[in-house]
């Protein structure tokens, strides 16, 4: 067998084993995605209920809570980026990071300073490569996040938000995550966690009858207790959404990788066949010309 042929055969073999790996990863992602979506669906009512309750308090009471009003003593803004721990998910992490960078530009144009919080190893390496300072990072289990991680992140962000300006307090908390719209569409989104934005689900109080909400023990205390939990629930749902998006992206990316591998295999098989055929042709012509030379002599 000629050298050319051996090179092609080798390439085909290595691509074949790569293809098996891609296929396996695609199947793994596909089998996990159902569970991830179920977790998103299961956690949504909780976060919705808590969001609705928070908006009810901020709309129906005239509490001037520090957590719902804008802080003016600091220009720092906490930004949390949620990305993947591993690659091989197409542009999933890159898209989230790009959205975060855009947000950063916008914020800096407004004269604000970004305090970066990061979840997922891909984003951590992105920022550490660029020597950006990270205020907090969480890695591990980006495709099946646990409540504990969400609680940790929420605690850190909540502390930053309640801290005094000289201790590194921030005036806003923004989250960049990837929203799972469907199996084929996932888009990076930016949400502002605090100060509260007016949230859907609660009707604006009409002018005629002001629905009188009664708060037990008091509106302030209700807000005090609910806000940390609200942050935790929102972060947890962002993590879950991102996990589902990551798996969907990975499945799609691996699917593409498998068909690319098939293309390459087909291409190299053709080349190997051509090489083999031309070798045979050459051998025949050598033999024929050799025999001719012998007969002529």
């Amino acid at each position: 067998m000629g050298g050319q042929q051996r090179v092609y055969r080798q390439k085909i073999r290595s691509t074949q084993s790569l293809k098996k790996i891609f296929r396996a990863m695609e199947l793994i992602a596909a089998s996990r995605i159902g569970k991830a979506r179920a977790r998103v669906a299961a956690a949504t009512p909780y976060s919705q209920a808590i969001t609705r309750a928070i908006s009810a308090v901020s709309i129906h009471s005239d509490v001037d809570h520090p957590l719902t009003s804008k802080r003016t003593d600091t220009t720092k803004v906490a930004v949390l980026v949620v990305s993947a721990d591993r690659g091989m998910a197409g542009a999933y992490s890159a898209n989230a990071i790009r959205a975060a960078e855009r947000l950063r530009l916008n914020l800096e144009r407004d004269g604000k300073e970004v305090v970066q919080y990061v979840a997922g190893r891909r984003a951590v390496s992105y920022y550490s490569f660029r020597h950006r300072e990270l205020a907090g990072k969480w890695t591990g289990a980006s495709d099946s996040p646990v409540v504990e991680t969400a609680t940790e992140i929420a605690d850190a962000l909540y502390q930053a938000f309640t801290a005094a300006a000289e201790d590194g307090g921030v005036s806003e908390i923004q989250i960049v995550y990837t929203h799972f719209t469907s199996m084929v569409t996932q888009e990076p989104r930016v949400i502002r966690l605090l100060p509260l934005e007016i949230v859907e689900g609660v009707a604006e109080p009409g002018e005629d009858v002001e629905p009188l909400y009664e708060f037990e023990p008091s509106a302030e205390e209700v807000l005090d207790t609910l806000l940390p939990r609200y942050i935790q629930a929102r972060i947890y749902s962002c993590l879950l959404q991102s996990a589902a998006s990551e798996l969907a992206s990975r499945q799609r990316a691996m699917n593409t990788a498998v068909s690319n591998a098939e293309d390459i295999i087909r291409q190299y098989t053709r080349l190997a066949n051509t090489a083999r055929q031309s070798e045979i042709t050459q051998e025949i012509s050598e033999i024929v010309s050799g025999a001719d030379a012998l007969a002529a002599s």
Partner: protein, 89 residues
């Protein structure tokens, strides 16, 4: 008899109970609170205890909780609860 309540009891990772009920009793921080239809809108924090729901058929369901809150508005009850660990001995 007053109308029924639409009740949703949700935990952090799942819905614990959902349906229509005749009354709900929850352990608020200021004492037990009983909710019937047409109660005034309220938002109350809960302490650890048991949330009890009386379904329309008259049977009680009980949920031990660690903490949470209940909101009531237009006969819609939302209870958000951190369930107590029932399997812990």
């Amino acid at each position: 008899m007053a109308g029924a309540l639409t009740v949703d009891i949700v935990g952090p990772d799942r819905i614990l109970w959902s349906g229509t009920a005749e009354r709900v009793i929850a352990p608020s921080v200021e004492g037990e609170i009983g909710l019937l239809a047409n109660h005034e809108p309220i938002l109350s924090l809960l302490r650890s205890g048991t949330v009890r729901v009386r379904g329309e058929s008259g049977d009680w369901s009980e949920f031990p909780i660690k903490s949470g809150f209940v909101s009531f508005d237009h006969n819609i009850v939302n209870i958000v609860a951190e369930p107590a660990d029932t399997h812990e001995d």
